[in-house]
Symmetry: C2
Subunit: 479 residues, 2 copies
């Protein structure tokens, strides 16, 4: 039974569309237009099975309009799915119960740069990258750096608690969210937190909202903490003969070296190749066995140099065949561009993929990578791996061989994932480090979390959303 059948929602009628038009203006409602609606049916999950056409799309311009739409949805028993840039990887913004998609793309203003408090106040539809562009010259920066930084919206980053390339040093999105204005699933407009770096006035609903995948409300204003922008950065590209060698460097650098790099990105052979091919890049290293992209930043040139020399030395001792240092921004950008585009590159190679986002204790990464290699041999498939090795978070692309039938693929996926998730249970890992559960992983939740935990999540959802109209069918089902 799919979600649409599971819940007894009403269809979006022309009468409801009229009400939507009355709220936001005719121009900002899409209905009865397959071509226009189709782009709201998906995110970056390659498998077409995770697409659903919305019945209508509405594009409000302010919180009052959103509150009205939410009240309408409750009144009419129609599901709402909030949508950012659609760059997610777990189907979080896909309207799996049909109904209305509520797009925040028109709410894209930087409201305030508050230099004295080192904060920025933004609307939800601001592109993540634009934040740092607006901060140019202030000496401040926002530390969030998801790989989709050039397209994703900040509200999506908050809703998914995006991680990204700098989390090992700067933490994930959650650390920077100080305040939220939210339209609740019942249509109230509430303020949570504020321009406060500390606050224990009641339960921490700001942090409950972060990572709640659009199931507990729609963000209409976001207050982010900024930090002084480091003036210097250097990137090291370290080539290894094997994944094992590369990955075993990670805990060494941090614990023995006492260095917290800004980034420690791992790419296996297949990932490097895919990224290079996609960008039509021809780089000397694209045939290496595995690669680490390690960044350090700071304000003191000597200290920075000392750090990258130490890291380089560790890597050489650990079997690196080459260590390149990129200390200028154009070389850095070339290297990072390969890393940022791997996901997209793989999406083009095959639609028959499961993009897993496993997270384990950081020191268990070598064990996890070895296990994935065993699994790929056992099933005769490839599982390219890349990601944020320093955080224990690896993206593993379980990829269907070209000569497999769809049937064989669909029969094998649950077996393969079952083995991977059993490994996660053994190592203290979890299903997702940064992509979220969404629609795609909810059926596997009970393999790693307890029924008591799930019951608490559902209780919280019920408190916020008694009619289950806000992004239903995500993370868990209300049954």
């Amino acid at each position: 039974m799919n979600e649409f059948e599971l819940y007894n929602f009403n269809p979006v009628t022309p009468e409801i569309v009229k009400q939507l038009e009355a709220i936001v203006g005719e121009k900002y409602v899409i209905f009865d237009d397959v071509e226009s609606l189709e782009q709201y049916s998906k995110d970056e999950v390659p498998d077409p099975a995770y697409r659903t056409m919305p019945e209508a799309v509405v594009r409000p311009s302010n919180k009052e309009e959103i509150a009205e739409i939410v009240k309408l949805a409750n009144r009419e028993n129609v599901p709402l799915t909030p949508r950012g840039a659609g760059s997610g990887l777990s189907g979080g913004c896909v309207p799996c119960c049909k109904g209305i998609v509520i797009s925040i793309d028109r709410m894209n203003k930087i409201i305030e740069i508050d230099r004295e408090n080192m904060m920025i106040v933004v609307e939800p539809g601001v592109v993540a990258n634009d934040i740092n562009e607006h901060l140019e010259g202030t000496g401040l920066f926002y530390a969030g750096y998801p790989m989709s930084v050039e397209t994703c919206y900040i509200a999506g980053n908050v809703a998914e608690n995006a991680g990204g390339g700098k989390a090992i040093k700067y933490g994930v999105t959650a650390r920077y969210v100080l305040g939220l204005e939210v339209v609740t699933p019942t249509g109230d407009i509430i303020e949570l937190g504020g321009k406060l770096v500390k606050n224990v006035t009641g339960y921490n609903l700001v942090q409950l909202m972060v990572g709640s995948e659009g199931t507990l409300g729609i963000f209409t204003k976001i207050i982010l903490k900024l930090i002084p922008r480091p003036t210097l950065q250097a990137d090291l590209l370290c080539l290894f003969n094997s994944s094992d060698e590369a990955i075993s460097m990670v805990p060494k650098i941090i614990t023995e070296g006492g260095i917290i790099p800004t980034s420690v990105e791992f790419m296996d052979k297949l990932s490097v190749q895919a990224g290079c091919e996609y960008l039509n890049e021809s780089l000397p290293y694209q045939n290496c066995g595995a690669m680490l992209l390690i960044s350090v930043d700071g304000n003191d040139a000597e200290e920075l140099e000392e750090q990258y020399i130490t890291i380089g030395k560790f890597c050489k001792e650990g079997g690196a065949t080459e260590v390149y240092v990129a200390d200028n921004s154009s070389t850095s950008e070339r290297i990072w561009s390969v890393r940022r585009n791997i996901a997209e590159a793989f999406n083009l190679i095959s639609k028959r993929q499961c993009n897993e986002d496993i997270v384990v204790p950081p020191a268990q990464i070598p064990e996890a990578i070895m296990f994935l290699e065993q699994i790929s041999k056992k099933y005769g498939i490839i599982i390219p791996c890349f990601g944020h090795a320093g955080d224990g978070n690896i993206h593993a692309r379980v990829t269907c061989p070209e000569d497999w039938s769809d049937e064989k693929w669909h029969d094998s996926v649950p077996l393969i994932l079952g083995e991977i998730y059993a490994m996660l249970r053994r190592t203290g890992g979890m299903l997702s480090g940064e992509h979220g559960i969404g629609h795609k992983r909810k059926k596997y939740m009970d393999q790693v979390v307890s029924p008591e935990y799930l019951a608490l999540l559902k209780g919280i959802k019920k408190t916020f959303d008694p009619n289950n109209i806000m992004n239903p069918g995500k993370i868990f089902d209300m049954v």
Copy 2:
């Protein structure tokens, strides 16, 4: 109506005590012994109005015993109040509904130091300071540093989301809590999070638990993140003629200087004097108008020196009469000791005090301090101020003049606090930055938060604790 009358709890009968004894052993239950029970009736709130005698105290040694006790409390409709070291400042561990106090003092083991993952696993009753003592020689440290670090338990730090002296650079307790084992208010034992630096598998209940003041469960195991211990630290003691001058330095250092100090502690004239007198310290600076204690840490001696020279220069330019540098640990400890003991010093001076824990946007600290000075003049009282100026978090001790009657004091407190809280609303501040709401501040909650927010808190509480037996009467009342 007090909490005991508000809720229809049953008394703790000798039969219930027998059941408690059967769970933990006779030796670990206190009943019918006023002298022994009395020490569990209070925390560090000086006002005796915030004390309540428990009917019984139970001291379990493991999670299974706690789960049994919780189930018993549900069955018998008797309230439970979890208690750490009793060093709190909002009445959080005071059994305001009578019933059973559950003390975690026997669960005080360091379970594991995991150097590879840079984490430590501890039982809830470990004294915060002991964590870093155990880490001596590992190159790692736990960044939490509440002022009660020598006595407080880590579970209390987590329950209150303790801030402390290093939050400006390292963040508050929340940032370091990666995993929790919790006995829920219904007696289930659940694991939340784990040895994971990133995790978006379901709502972030770890962060919901942090700061929930013992109302959503009892922590039985805590996984904390560690960071590389900086090898160098320097403390600057900067004396000023006035609070204004001192406080206006804070945003300057951070935004203009681009320096995030480890600590920026502010003490006004009265606070410095009280701290010195309490310790019988005779220091050259105890008659200054106000003082900033600023620490910086790192691994590079030159960078550190550059930082404290810059800070010293800013302070001198801003009117500092003296800037002392303490770069050895014994001088540092002497200075910090004064700061850590201010709260205790004031507690001895008068029981008729309100220890406020206001938090405002950091840049609004000068405005808040000026306002408090106006208020103290208006009412003819003193309001010594000290605290974590860098975080926007100030402890303001509203102190009753000796010649006021109790009646005049009790009539004036709501008026004075009403004005202070109105200022908080105007500046975007909140009631508490790190001490919590507890029993003491709940009646003021509706002055700063919305009814919709409070309703969500109550809904969450109901989900976790349908019978309202876990630390009832704290943060809000379930009515």
